[in-house]
Symmetry: C2
Subunit: 137 residues, 2 copies
DNA sequence: CATAAATACTACCAATAAGTAGCATATAAA
DNA sequence: TTTATATGCTACTTATTGGTAGTATTTATG
């Protein structure tokens, strides 16, 4: 019951970048600040670029930079792109037939958790972070 | 962001058994009702026995039965025993140093989710299930 | 144009979770 | 005491996630 490492990393990286959202960040810099292995981070950055949150600037003096305002990027979008929020929104007991009209024995109980989680992820953007708090490893 | 299959299975099984909590259930019966592979379920049953929720009756006419009232078994205990609730209660960004006194940038936001989840898992026992809802696969 | 400093891509390796197979053990009852 | 019907244990296989290595590509600058 937790995010995948990949989702954790994606959030770490983008939240870190969001403190100074107009800056260009190199992979090297991010690897040093956050505790993510070099190659894995680079691959993740490529994925995040393809998802449209950032774009890469290749060649010397290259790096990564946001493609849009951080207030337009919600945690939901990030987690969804790297691990699929569907995971959360499926039946907690894994019953395929479970739905609101044909709920499982935990459906109503679980709904409170699901709602809270969706709310937090959908309402929180990269601009709403506590940037004075821990951002790096 | 979801339970492991093992936790899903454990909940499925125990919730199913909780409908008639004084009955003895065989692995065969549970395998047929719930969609869990035979050997995997048996191993899980042994784990759940060792954790003290149920006990096994070996030999012919054997099976599994609760060791205590279902109102004494909380979802928290079950999930904790098979996958560790620590997972949820760690920092959402995976920062080891993160704590209430030295929080990460998402700490306060995430706390609402964590609290809701803990509340639901800690307050819901196997006696509080909607037994008229879907229980089987 | 050569070089340095950056990202991109592909293929492989490791760790963990999930699932399978086979044999051992226990016990009620004919 | 044999047999049928249960669970218990150990080792193996498979799938997924996380991580690594090496090479190719891009581009600013002397």
């Amino acid at each position: 019951m937790k995010l995948t490492k990949t989702a954790e990393y994606a959030l770490r990286i983008l939240i870190f970048m969001a403190k100074k959202p107009d800056q260009l960040y190199t992979a090297k810099q991010l690897v040093e600040e956050l505790n993510v292995s070099d190659k894995y981070l680079r691959r993740l950055m490529t994925d995040l670029s393809k998802s449209g949150f950032i774009r890469s600037v290749q060649g010397r003096d290259g790096g990564y930079i946001f493609t849009k305002g951080t207030d337009k990027i919600f945690l939901f979008d990030i987690v969804h792109s790297v691990e699929g929020m569907d995971k959360l929104n499926g039946c907690v007991l894994g019953f395929e037939k479970c739905s609101c009209t044909n709920p499982c024995a935990m459906h109503d109980t679980w709904e409170h958790v699901r709602d809270e989680l969706n709310k937090v992820f959908r309402q929180t953007s990269l601009a709403n972070m506590d940037f004075e708090k821990i951002l790096r490893y």
